[in-house]
Amino acid sequence: MYLPSFQYLAPKDTGELAALLSDHGDNARILSGGTDLLVQLKNSGADLGYVIDISGLEKLSEISYDDTNGLVIGAAAKLDDIMALPVVKEKYFALYQAIETIGARQIRTMGSLGGNICNASPAADTPPALVAFNAEVSIASDAAERQMPLVDFIQGNRKTDLGKGEYLKSITLPVPAKNSGSAYHHFRVRGGMEIAMVAAALSIQLEADNGTVKDAVIALGVVGPAPIKAEDAAKILIGQKPNEELLQSVSQACADISQPIDDFRASAEYRKEILRVLIEEAFDEAYAQVAG
């Protein structure tokens, strides 16, 4: 199984990257970890003009955290490097859980967060978790730089808002509020090297004194062409003290707006049922992180 032919370009800095994309953007693919791109090229067999390798660009691999800007992850940062940062496990637990489930050790060593996003697979693990943290993406080109919410950046199956000459530069996760917790739950049958059939991520903030929900963000994964931010379902939680009945109405509201596919792995009806279970489980886990 061979790769189709292409020319290989390895820019030395982001300026050169932007210039190359401006020149060759419509006949080039950006290579980061290769765990999606090279597999797709092998399967397509179609020759391509250029592969532009960003994995050597240190500026795109940086990860930083501070209490003002939050967690800023360069698009080419490796999944295992992100997972290894204590602050990720401590403050962005749902993202840690999402990365932990991707492929296997080799894939996490090679793959990057930006790649998982830009590949825009409906079954990708990290996008729902990132949406639950209200992540923003920075998109750059040789002319300008712009920001937008990740949930708007991923537009559908294998479709993002990246325009000609643009590249994903970084992903920013705001500092989580005090008394907040998060969780990512997914459903699959095997343990490793498998993609999720249904996924749910949420982050919640509780009032300090009485355990009522102050704020909540719920994101649904694999049940539509792109991650779904379940805003109406999240509103049901706000100002309430959680109980079984309340959670059932939240999970029902999530199932109602989900659009899962119906295939040999699971029926749409089953996926909706599983989604409800995942939402309730994820809520319980996130709640326990704050309320103990």
Binding site: Y2, Y8, V51, D53, A104, T109, M110, G192, M193
Partner: protein
């Protein structure tokens, strides 16, 4: 268009003429004759082609040779030192972690990478850490036994080359 790349494989420098679309697996097997690295699925699923790059487990079937200049590459051929097998090789051999053998080099290189990252994994961490390597003979238990024996120090007197480990 082919170009010369300078690769460091098993501690030796190689100048190889490669096309941009050549993977490390293609180069070591076809151009350098090191056929210890196996190709299974050839699309990053099975782990048979696992090698170490800078001490970490990578899939050589989806790693470009042109992108690997300046990195320390170790294949299964690089583990034996002075005629002595690496402890993981010795353990896989003695604990009968080999059935048909096609997954074995990848399993060993993956275990090597796992122990570089976490020298004392527990059983669960071994199982999860090896989940990227498929053995279609399903001989997983013997493989786990072998890795556990290495972790427990049973093979400490075997050669302990730390090739590629920082």
């Amino acid at each position: 268009m082919k170009q010369v790349v300078h690769l460091n494989i098993n501690g030796s420098p190689y100048d190889v003429m490669v096309a941009p679309n050549a993977t490390i697996a293609d180069v070591v097997r076809r151009q350098l004759g090191m056929t210890g690295t196996k190709l299974g699925c050839e699309q990053g699923d099975c782990g048979a082609c696992t090698i170490l790059i800078d001490g970490k487990s990578h899939l050589s079937c989806i790693t470009l040779a042109v992108a690997s200049e300046g990195k320390e590459i170790v294949t299964i051929e690089g583990l034996e030192q002075n005629g002595k097998l690496d402890p993981i090789q010795q353990a896989i051999l003695e604990k009968q972690g080999v059935q048909c053998g096609i997954c074995t080099p990848g399993v060993i290189m993956s275990a090597k990478g796992l122990l570089n990252e976490n020298p004392k994994p527990n059983h669960e961490e071994i199982v999860v850490g090896m989940s990227g390597n498929l053995c279609r003979c399903t001989g997983y238990e013997k493989i786990f036994d072998a890795i556990e024996a290495v972790v427990e120090g049973e093979y400490d007197d075997a050669a302990t080359p730390q090739v590629g480990a920082e």
